[in-house]
């Protein structure tokens, strides 16, 4: 990224383009999870407050997907993703963990940044594109650093390009 595209923090945030993707309560910080399963339980519970799905179904799907192959991508990042019946578009939930957890990632590093994507069952929903875009954004070391150092959920939301940027945020 060159300097011209980094004219302001807000522009930089918008370039990540996750507007509209994040759930209203789509950023959690200092989440304490003791295991992958515990993490998924928490994420499923949070997400299902806003979407019409049963937490146990989302949890089951996340764990099953993980058994087919890890969604840890390295550098402490995981992007768990599953299809959920009844969704009309891809929705996201970002969590920053208080303590990194074991994730069977390719670089064997524990994970502390988790971007969960819940997608419609329709393969034409653009879910693969969203997944690729998410992976690309989180591959940038400086972006991961910003996410790790952001002081609040709102600040992370601003970085991700959400719409809950408050004054001074």
């Amino acid at each position: 990224m060159n300097d011209a595209t980094r004219t302001s923090e807000k522009d930089a945030a918008q370039s990540n383009g996750f507007d509209g993707l994040l759930l209203d309560q789509g950023v959690i910080i200092d989440l304490n999870a003791t295991s992958k399963k515990h993490l998924f339980q928490e994420l499923a519970r949070h997400a299902c407050e806003e979407i019409d799905a049963a937490p146990s179904v989302v949890l089951g799907a996340l764990l099953e997907r993980e058994r087919l192959g890890t969604t840890g991508v390295g550098s402490g990042v995981a992007i768990p993703h599953v299809a959920v019946a009844g969704l009309d578009r891809v929705r996201g939930l970002f969590a920053r963990l208080g303590q990194p957890i074991e994730f069977d990632a390719p670089d064997e590093k524990p994970v502390d940044l988790v971007f969960m994507l819940l997608a419609p069952e329709d393969i034409n929903s653009g879910r693969l594109k969203t997944l690729a875009r998410t992976a690309r954004a989180l591959r940038r070391p400086e972006f991961r650093e910003q996410l790790r150092e952001a002081p609040s959920a709102d600040a992370i939301r601003a970085l991700l390009g959400g719409d809950a940027v408050t004054a001074g945020g």
């Binding site: 146990s56 764990l63 087919l68 997944l131 690729a132």
Partner: protein, 457 residues
């Protein structure tokens, strides 16, 4: 994976040992502090003393983080409740229970074990599984092992290679040229106590145990070539009239023209067996008494099966029966240390009950979509079936470019109901079912072969 095992008895111990050896975080629960002491001393597992179905005990065992519970105590009811609690209170997504009583398993009540009712994903009945393993051995007498894969389209056979075998000392790739119509491949060889996946130019030697995958309806032709076609047994002697013995005898009663005799040492048990079996003669007496074995007809039996709950009795009864003249001896043995006695004593088949139970469980622990798995007798190799999913490293290129490591042999591939024998140029497609032979050390690599990439939704 974090796994809770309820019950530290023989079955629980075997499961915990295998899971711990594959780097799973295992916690074992048992009411007996002695058994917990023993298992935590011998194995790399955590132990909790308590009742396996009590919520606080499960909590203490880490049910909140567990991805699997395996309830194998002696009580069916404890096992079922443990699974229910694990599901309802701790969201444990995979629940396996040992259920012995046939009453719960009758087809009429088949709605019992599902998510809405009693949330048990896999029911294991070690006695029945062992019984089935024994029956499989009787069904294909020319093979010492016989398993079904690929929705019934593929057989996995173990055969002893004899001197007169027509393909001895022939490179395996030439065997394929000699029998182009035969859909079969030698995927594993046991030689000098070592099991390995062969290379194309390896040869079979007399005295080898060869493991084959074969299209199911080519089985007898394959036995003709690699082993020997043997007539099905007509006279069977079973030593041990307990649960397993009665199960096997009962299944054999339904086959025509079979004569089955059961020998049972315990009087009460013998009477129970006699009451349950309609066409089978039950003799009360010691299976290690040659006179009684003779009376049971061991001398002219095609097969003697020893199924008591004592390994030593089973091994000796099998050896005695062979000495009396029985053609074949099949023997239930729990302790793997006894496997060394198989050849010296002339026993044809050892059935390891743990191998069957553990195989069922590992199928659900392994990464990827694994649809079948079976340990070979001594656990040094396994045969498994998995589905090639989109984005898996196997898909879309010839096998020789798929970085398949030594020690792994992709034998048969089932695609849309057709069996293919894979060679180096074979290209795996999405949805193919692969039947694979793998040496123990290569299991992690097999998992990686089936693993999907991030893009898999």
């Amino acid at each position: 994976m974090k796994v809770i095992v309820c019950g530290a008895g023989r079955v629980g111990y075997g499961i915990a040992e295998e899971l711990a050896s594959e780097q799973n975080a295992v916690t074992v629960i048992d009411v007996s502090s002695e058994l917990i002491d023993q298992i935590t001393t011998n194995l790399d597992v955590r132990g909790v003393v308590g009742h396996g179905a009590h919520p606080d005990v499960l909590d203490q065992a880490g049910a909140g983080d567990a991805e699997m519970i395996i309830a194998v105590t002696f009580s069916d009811e404890v096992n079922m409740v443990a699974c229910q609690i694990a599901h309802s209170l701790f969201d444990v997504p995979m629940r396996i229970a040992r259920v012995r009583s046939q009453n719960y398993l009758q087809p009429a009540w088949s709605d019992l074990f599902n998510r809405q009712n009693m949330p048990i994903d896999v029911v294991i009945s070690p006695e029945i599984e062992v019984g089935r393993a024994v029956l499989r051995r009787l069904e294909t007498p020319g093979a010492f092992d016989s398993l079904v894969f690929g929705e019934g389209l593929v057989r996995f056979l173990g055969v002893r290679v004899e001197e007169e075998c027509p393909v001895v000392a022939t490179p395996l790739n030439q065997i394929r040229e000699l029998f182009p119509q035969l859909k079969a491949a030698v995927v594993g060889i046991r030689r000098d106590k070592r099991v390995f996946a062969p290379h194309p130019n390896d040869q079979l030697l007399a005295g080898d145990d060869a493991y084959l995958v074969v299209q199911a309806d080519h089985e007898s032709r394959a036995l003709d070539i690699f082993g020997r076609e043997v007539d099905r047994a007509r006279r069977v002697v079973i030593v041990g009239g307990g649960n397993i013995g009665v199960f096997v005898a009962e299944a054999l009663e339904s086959a025509r023209g079979l004569r089955v005799r059961v020998v049972e040492a315990d009087k009460t048990q013998a009477e129970l067996a006699a009451a349950q079996l309609k066409r089978t003669v039950v003799l009360h007496g010691d299976g290690l008494d040659p006179a009684l074995l003779r009376e049971a007809g061991a001398a002219d039996a095609e097969v003697v099966v020893s199924l008591t709950n004592d390994d030593k009795v089973n091994v000796l009864a099998a050896a005695l029966a062979k000495a009396e003249g029985a053609k074949r001896a099949v023997c239930l043995v729990n302790d793997r240390a006894y496997h060394a006695l198989k050849d010296p004593l002339g026993i044809d088949v050892f059935v390891d009950p743990r191998a069957t139970t553990v195989s069922t469980i590992l199928q659900h622990v392994r990464k990827g979509r694994i649809t079948g798995l079976q340990f070979l007798e001594d656990g040094e190799a396994e045969v498994l079936e998995g589905v090639a999913l989109e984005t898996s490293p196997l898909v879309g290129k010839p096998l020789r470019k798929a970085n398949i490591e030594d020690g792994i042999y992709i034998g048969a591939v089932v695609r849309k109901g057709v069996v293919h024998i894979a060679d180096d140029d074979f290209v795996v497609e999405i949805g193919d079912r692969l039947v694979i032979f793998a040496e123990r050390e290569q299991v992690a690599h097999v998992e990686r072969m089936f693993r999907v990439a991030l893009e898999y939704f």
